[in-house]
């Protein structure tokens, strides 16, 4: 396969918890706690996990929309945390993001034309005369009519707004797009339209996606590889087929068993996890999953399992594996 477009090494993002009269830092929410992966050109990596496990924070930290605590992020061989603000700003067009909420992610006081075209002018990809054509082009590509250009975001439905969000990201000709739950806020019929649109565009322009979602069936449809997150860490990462047919980590197994199957006659064994997800401010010692794991052993309470390749590009962090 081709060279990695994006390399994430041991990325961490801790949010301080302040308390008391003098706002002393009393602890940290470990939203992202040591994540490593690679993303190749034209590839889609799905990132799944329960809500609050740090998926969105991962996406934003990778784009340096929020600052990291530790680790490295290489985009086309450049560490985006080692370049200054101005260089980062110049790099922005090649790495874009589509947000979850199409209602709050578009500026209500700007027309669609301004929203999509603004950055084109800012980065010298178009001037005042050509910007209209370019914007119309990209809107059309996303299934929106060109008359939308003069309208304001509030005049559109949720699905249309998400298309505007996608058009906005596409207009800049990116190489890599973080899709932060782009379809979670939409109803199912619109979801499939948007997912298909993303797939089509990828085939056309060879984008790389980091597709963040909690919906396993959507992730299964769109991704080439899938990573499973639990409490800020990746517990398993493998090719889509491999992961869905041969899940190794007990958490992945539990997640997969919860996916609804559209066949009422089929009886399946569901793995029901006990207890709640522990607080990321005070994660359990050893393997973070041991408090809920049905197969836990003594070693799980003490030692953090190594995140390793078990062959076939299948990474997993569990003491059960390779014994």
């Amino acid at each position: 396969m081709s060279e990695a477009l994006l390399t994430v090494k041991n990325l961490k993002k801790y949010f301080p918890i302040k308390s008391g009269v003098f706002q002393k830092v009393v602890g940290h929410v470990k939203a992202v706690d040591g994540i490593s992966f690679e993303l190749k050109k034209g590839e889609t990596l799905g990132l799944v996990g329960e809500s609050g496990c740090g998926k969105s924070t991962t996406g934003r930290t990778i784009l340096r929309l929020i600052e990291k605590t530790e680790g490295e992020v290489f985009f086309e061989g450049k560490d985006i945390y080692k370049i200054n603000r101005e260089e980062l700003r110049k790099l922005r067009p090649s790495m874009q993001i589509i947000f979850q909420d199409p209602y709050s992610s578009l500026n209500p006081r700007m027309t669609v034309g301004e929203i999509v075209g603004e950055a084109l002018i800012e980065h010298g990809m178009a001037d005042k005369n050509t910007v209209k054509d370019k914007v119309e082009n990209v809107l059309e590509m996303c299934g929106l009519s060109s008359y939308c250009i003069r309208r304001y975001p509030h005049e559109f439905s949720g699905g249309q707004r998400q298309r505007i969000g996608i058009a906005r990201a596409l207009a800049l000709n990116p190489k890599f797009i973080v899709c932060d739950e782009p379809v979670s806020a939409l109803d199912v019929s619109i979801q499939s339209q948007i997912v298909n649109l993303l797939c089509e565009l990828q085939q056309k322009f060879n984008f790389s996606y980091l597709f963040i979602s909690h919906d396993l069936s959507v992730v299964k449809h769109i991704s080439h590889r899938v990573g499973v997150m639990y409490l800020g860490t990746l517990v398993e990462l493998a090719d889509k087929k491999e992961l869905f047919s041969n899940p190794l980590h007990p958490y992945t197994k539990a997640l997969l068993s919860a996916v609804p199957v559209p066949d009422p006659t089929l009886k399946r064994e569901r793995i029901i996890l006990e207890g709640d997800i522990p607080s990321p401010a005070n994660p359990p010692k050893g393997c973070k999953f041991h408090t809920r794991c049905p197969y836990k052993m003594d070693i799980c309470k003490e030692i953090v399992p190594e995140y390793k390749d078990v062959g076939n590009n299948h990474f997993v962090a569990c003491h059960l594996i390779g014994r």
């Binding site: 934003r60 784009l63 929309l65 603000r85 980062l88 700003r89 110049k90 790099l91 922005r92 067009p93 874009q96 993001i97 947000f99 909420d101 709050s104 992610s105 578009l106 500026n107 209500p108 006081r109 700007m110 027309t111 603004e118 950055a119 800012e122 980065h123 304001y152 509030h154 969000g165 906005r168 800049l172």
Partner: protein, 320 residues
């Protein structure tokens, strides 16, 4: 938009009529006899009765109201008992003095409060933010009569930088730019008092509105586009944050004409505020009714301007 404004203006007619009825009734209830206020106490009862007849004071209240409102519409607002001049003339000669002072304070506080509010929000919990939070608290807490006297003591009496009171030098004959300079010199201290009082609130409004906006997803979108931070803050964030602030400004529009009673009194500024107070004390009913009618009209007009501005700054609001 034009249709909307026309309709709103038409809607003002019944509202103003209602207000005029209320004002008229309230002043009818007030104690005191207008005739004895006008004439010499030594006047004979027959003359008084004749005057009553002339002024339609013996007619039923509805008829009296009819005479009054018709006169108001014709521009005859009655004569002030105290000034022995038509009410319109009295109002006209004092209203503008108030307006200049209030307008200067309005513009100054807008020019100061918005940038300070924006900086306080973008640098939340910084030294800058804390300093201006404290200043805002002082501004809100300190009564204008105290602050005004303090400024007079420091700047007018001790170091004699500004005049103690008034709007021009006594017996001044200055015209043109010299007059403007003289008025500005006199205006400085009352302007500081008025601005300081209103600055705090506006600044805090801008700050909190801005804080809310910069946490929105579309600000994150703007950053992700690779826009300069200045563009993100001043184009994307500020334009949205100003929407609620515009309402506050709109609401303070009628105040431009009503005058600042306390501040004008302290600095002996010949504005409408002290005149109003004096009219209450001297039972100058026609003058009071006139001022009240005018303020009611300006308040309605101010609200209309605020609504229209609101629609201009926020595309989600459509005026129908």
């Amino acid at each position: 938009m034009r249709q909307y404004i026309t309709r709103r203006l038409l809607e003002m007619i019944p509202v103003l009529l209602g207000i005029s009825i209320m004002i008229f009734v309230i002043f009818q209830l007030a104690p005191g006899d207008p005739v004895s206020a006008i004439v010499d106490p030594k006047t004979s009862a027959a003359t008084k009765a004749k005057l009553r007849e002339q002024l339609h004071l013996n007619e039923p209240i509805i008829v009296q109201y009819k005479y009054w409102i018709m006169d108001i519409l014709k521009g005859n607002w009655g004569e002030s008992f105290y000034y022995k001049q038509p009410v319109t003339k009295v109002i006209n000669s004092f209203l503008w003095n108030s307006f200049y002072l209030s307008l200067a304070s309005f513009i100054l506080s807008a020019l100061l409060s918005i940038p300070i509010g924006v900086l306080s929000a973008t640098k939340q919990y910084s030294k800058f933010d804390y300093v201006f939070t404290v200043i805002a608290l002082i501004g809100i807490s300190m009564p204008s009569f105290f602050f005004g006297l303090l400024l007079i003591k420091w700047f007018a009496v001790d170091i004699k930088l500004f005049p103690v009171s008034g709007m021009t030098n006594p017996g001044s004959t200055a015209t043109g730019f010299a007059l403007f300079k003289e008025v500005m010199h006199h205006m400085a201290l009352p302007l500081v008092v008025l601005t300081f009082g209103s600055l705090a609130g506006l600044m805090r409004y801008t700050r909190s509105s801005m804080l809310e906006v910069i946490r929105q997803d579309y600000i994150r979108t703007a950053r992700a586009k690779g826009l300069k931070e200045k563009v993100v803050i001043y184009k994307h964030a500020l334009r949205n944050a100003l929407i609620p602030v515009v309402t506050i400004f709109g609401m303070s529009l009628p105040g431009l004409f009503s005058g600042a009673i306390i501040t004008e009194q302290i600095f002996n500024w010949p504005g409408i505020g002290p005149i109003e107070l004096q009219a209450v004390n001297t039972r100058d009913y026609y003058l009071l009714m006139g001022i009240n009618m005018l303020l009611a009209f300006l308040t309605l007009l101010g609200n209309l301007i605020a609504d229209v501005t609101y629609a201009i700054v926020d595309p989600r609001i459509r005026l129908k």
